[in-house]
């Protein structure tokens, strides 16, 4: 197809409609901007970027652990190293996600039509907690057995024991390495695209003008 071919005003093609919607809501100069407003230079966004960097390490180390298996991550020195890499990158992921959340809370990051961006961030936080809990159940050691035995009472007390059987290793491991990470990663991508589409929120008191 010739790239210069004129496109009808009301195309029946869903690809053309999708392309126009993307051009309208997420033009390339928003998606990959050359310059940003001065207030983008804030540590709160550095915290967000460190969270994403930690997530990359979590996923990379997790892929290696899933490929090599529990015997390896418990018994070999390299396996224990990757086990620790996975654990500590999760610690950094949570620490900087919470710092980013605190910052966004105090700067009211949901203003000016950004409620969905804030809400998706909160959902990411919730799913990340579930992912971490199922990770504790996937260790394949006495710790995970102890946690599972205790967690089952909490799950049953909450009324969800029929759906989430924490004593079922296969279910917990599947949730931990497939469904929940896909959910977190997908929502992180959506979160970033939404930030790119609207830009970050303006300061409550821009330039200090309202100060008395």
């Amino acid at each position: 197809m010739d790239a210069a071919e004129p496109i009808p005003e009301s195309p029946s093609s869903w690809t053309v409609r999708t392309r126009r919607a993307i051009d309208r809501h997420l033009p390339m100069d928003h998606l990959l901007p050359v310059r940003q407003p001065y207030y983008v230079g804030s540590w709160v966004y550095v915290f967000g970027v460190i969270t994403i960097a930690a997530l990359v390490w979590v996923v990379v180390s997790g892929v290696v652990l899933a490929f090599m298996g529990p015997q390896w991550w418990h018994d070999s020195s390299v396996g224990r190293f990757f086990n620790s890499l996975h654990f500590w990158s999760v610690q950094l992921f949570f620490i900087f996600m919470v710092l980013h959340l605190w910052g966004q809370y105090f700067m009211a990051g949901w203003r000016h039509g950004r409620a969905a961006t804030w809400a998706i961030g909160v959902v990411i936080f919730g799913i990340s907690i579930l992912t971490a809990f199922t990770g504790y159940l996937s260790q394949q050691n006495f710790d995970s057995q102890f946690i599972a035995i205790n967690a089952k009472d909490a799950m049953n007390g909450a009324g969800v024991g029929a759906f989430f059987n924490v004593l079922n290793f296969g279910q917990m491991y599947g949730l931990h390495i497939v469904l929940l990470p896909i959910g977190v990663t997908f929502l992180v991508v959506v979160h970033i695209v939404m930030v790119r589409a609207r830009g970050v929120v303006k300061p409550i008191d821009p330039e200090g003008g309202a100060r008395s």
Binding site: P37, W43, L99
Partner: protein, 48 residues
């Protein structure tokens, strides 16, 4: 490594010392982020 950790117990608050240190470190880092100047590059027209 396998010995149980020590706990901080104050009234109804019961938290392990490692968790307490992590939370304290996060609060300190957040406080530093509030006051530490952010290194701005680029020109001076209000954008970077």
């Amino acid at each position: 490594m396998d010995s149980p950790t020590t706990y901080f117990h104050w009234g109804f608050i019961l938290i392990s010392v490692p968790n307490l240190l992590v939370i304290a470190g996060m609060i300190v880092l957040f406080a530093i982020a509030l006051v530490a100047p952010f290194p701005h590059g680029g020109d001076s027209d209000g954008r970077r």
